[in-house]
């Protein structure tokens, strides 16, 4: 059974209509969001960039869910399941389980200190904790660098939907990319005017659509295909040998190397997730540390959704879903959208497409806000305008968010799709290297700022080079006259996210190997620097800052500007209650 999309650029009017309908709804919602829990003035980062720091449990749940489960979840994970199975795809399930105990432990401390000291970004915290502009700059640059390809990946997700409804087939490059450009321009406009409130509101629509689509799909798989046959089809495909004599993929990890790869991918990704600026932004926008802990308990429902989505990759194998795009090339990213187009009526496929597309817009908005906040607080204000007023910060952030989005758009339009995925892989390697400075900093000032900087630099360089060195054959499959033909294009870099740990034959997630190098260097150099009594930098935080919450007296004390708390410039003077 071959999906009709492969035949040519036939536009499915019904699916497209439903997609456009939902797009209009979220656009209106995005602009109206500026009035939601309306502040006296939107002109500060606390309001524009953190939604007033007052989101309650339910809003935070939708916002974090909308933020963390992105086009990567909806498109890339099932695509990996479809193409190579468990190690590349299903690891995302333990990953999203492992992340919540970590959030439960670390993030309330982060929230408290950020709340007490007026921090907006993770780099703000590093600046205040270690008294080091250099280390803060390193954290900020890493955050921006890792976020850009993540935004680009959201665009790839939207492209997959556009391609599936039949708008991607035009030979005219401009017309082909026009839908993507329009949707991103609209996103940029309402993010500019409403700030974090826009994705927070749209996240309600997004998650409702996603849950509807995924429940329908999984009922279909269980009822029409059956779970047994689905897994059997996947096992057969993944255990088939390719022309080179290797297995197509991994159905169940079965040897020491795949155990290590699977475990480190899951654990490393879990540690990295909350180092991403957008995850931090969504966390800091909640109104209390209890809200975060409560969310750590209820967010695993999203992991269930992720797992079911991942299984759709296997369902696409069982249904022999065609993944040939409008350009004639096979693209595993099309597995889920094509699966919906294949098995559901056009109108419902449209709902699923809307879920995927809006599911990409929400995180893209939050990511661009987070990257913009990093730029404003830790580059613009830190190095160029130390006495910037709150309204100036908000304006710079708004403009920076536009620049970030259009940068990502140019990236996707001008480079091969594969590059977005490569850089997303690198982004994960990079962002994990801020873990030591941030998470260790929440507990101890033992590490020396220069040692942390050195460990970070070494790990960044090693991780980037190692990821680059992973070469795989760059084969593409093209549909010629209805028959798949393999084209060989030599080799490509960034072929794998796992590599041997230096001087061993153990295969680990590159980000985790780099983190080990990072920690070893940070520890050794700290010991040396402490021995020679190198200046450690001033710590502006107090032990109490790490425990305070919205109602405790420590917060009120910390909110009075003190000479030590130079980072504090704006604070919401009144805290609204969320119902």
């Amino acid at each position: 059974m071959t999906a009709p999309q492969a035949a040519g650029p036939a536009v499915n009017g019904v699916s497209l209509g439903v997609l456009v309908f939902f797009f209009v709804i979220v656009t209106v919602g995005g602009f109206l969001a500026a009035r939601w829990r309306r502040p006296e003035s939107m002109a500060s980062l606390d309001e524009w960039g953190l939604g007033g720091r007052g989101f309650g449990t339910l809003t935070t749940w939708f916002l974090l869910g909308g933020d963390l489960y992105t086009a990567y979840t909806f498109v890339a994970v099932p695509a990996a399941m479809f193409a190579t199975g468990a190690v590349a795809g299903w690891f995302a399930v333990p990953y999203t389980i492992l992340v919540y105990p970590l959030i439960f432990v670390f993030m309330p401390r982060m929230w408290s200190v950020a709340h007490a000291r007026g921090y907006v970004t993770p780099a703000d915290f590093v600046r205040g904790r270690y008294g080091s502009r250099g280390l803060a700059l390193a954290v900020a640059l890493t955050g921006i660098l890792a976020t850009m390809p993540y935004i680009a990946l959201q665009l790839v997700g939207i492209q997959a939907v556009i391609d599936t409804v039949g708008l991607g087939g035009s030979s005219n490059t401009f017309l082909k990319d026009l839908p993507l450009i329009i949707s991103f321009a609209v996103l940029a406009a309402y993010t500019y005017s409403s700030g974090l409130r826009a994705p927070a509101l749209i996240a309600f629509v997004k998650d409702t659509l996603v849950y509807i689509a995924i429940i329908a799909a999984i009922v279909y798989v269980g009822w029409k295909i059956g779970f047994g046959p689905t897994f059997h089809a996947a096992e057969t495909k993944l255990n088939t040998k390719t022309a080179t004599g290797k297995l197509t993929g991994v159905f169940i990890p079965g040897n020491a190397n795949s155990y290590w790869a699977y475990a480190t991918l899951a654990f490393g990704s879990a540690m990295a997730l909350f180092m991403y600026p957008h995850a931090m932004t969504a966390t800091l926008s909640s109104k209390g540390r209890n809200v975060i802990r409560r969310n750590a308990a209820i967010l695993p429902t999203y992991s269930l959704m992720l797992a079911l989505l991942a299984l759709l990759g296997f369902a696409a194998i069982a249904k022999k879903t065609s993944v040939f795009g409008a350009d004639g090339y096979a693209n595993a990213q099309l597995a889920v959208p094509h699966f919906f187009a294949q098995v559901f009526p056009s109108w419902f496929a449209g709902v699923a497409f809307a879920a995927i597309a809006i599911g990409a817009l929400v995180p893209a908005a939050i990511m661009s806000i987070a990257a913009a906040n990093l730029f404003t607080r830790n580059i613009y204000r830190e190095f160029f305008r130390p006495d910037a007023m709150p309204h100036e910060e908000a304006l710079v952030s708004k403009i920076a968010s536009l620049v970030v989005k259009f940068g990502a758009l140019l990236f996707v339009l001008s480079l091969d799709r594969q590059n977005a995925i490569n850089f997303q892989l690198l982004g994960g390697v990079w962002i994990l290297q801020t873990f030591v400075a941030i998470v260790a900093g929440l507990y101890t000032r033992w590490f020396h700022r220069w040692a942390l900087l050195l460990g970070w630099a070494a790990a960044m360089v090693w991780g980037t080079i190692t990821a680059y060195q992973q070469k795989v054959p760059n084969d593409k499959i093209k549909l010629v006259d209805g028959k798949p033909v393999i084209e060989h294009h030599g080799q490509r870099h960034f072929g794998s996210s796992v590599a041997n740990f230096p001087f061993t034959h153990v295969t680990l997630y590159i980000a985790v190997s780099a983190l080990v190098i990072n920690i070893v260097i940070a520890v050794v150099v700290t010991v040396l620097l402490r021995a020679v009594k190198a200046p450690g930098g001033a710590d502006e935080t107090e032990p109490d800052d790490y425990y305070s919450d919205a109602v405790s007296p420590e917060v009120i004390r910390a909110e009075e500007p003190t000479p030590a708390a130079t980072g504090v410039i704006t604070h919401p003077t009144s805290r609204r209650e969320d119902t």
Binding site: Y100, P101, G222, F251, R293, I298, S303, L304, A307
Partner: protein
């Protein structure tokens, strides 16, 4: 003190269980067509929800009584 130990245990258990891949990388026993490897991961999702929720209740109660953390 006992609260802290219990909370720590509740939070560490899901991590240890899922990182120990060889303990569950088997196809059988199957459940509703799901190989063990797959349904075991899903089972931990439910267990974790229960464990983190319990940890939340314990921590909140302890804080109300005047402890920290």
């Amino acid at each position: 003190m006992w609260v802290r130990i219990t909370v720590a245990a509740l939070l560490i258990m899901p991590i240890v269980a899922l990182v120990a891949v060889p303990t569950y990388s088997n196809p059988s026993p199957h459940l509703w067509g799901f190989p063990f490897f797959y349904w075991y991961s899903l089972l931990w999702m439910l267990l974790e929800t229960a464990m983190v929720s319990t940890a939340y209740v314990l921590v909140t109660r302890a804080r109300r009584k005047g402890g920290s953390r």
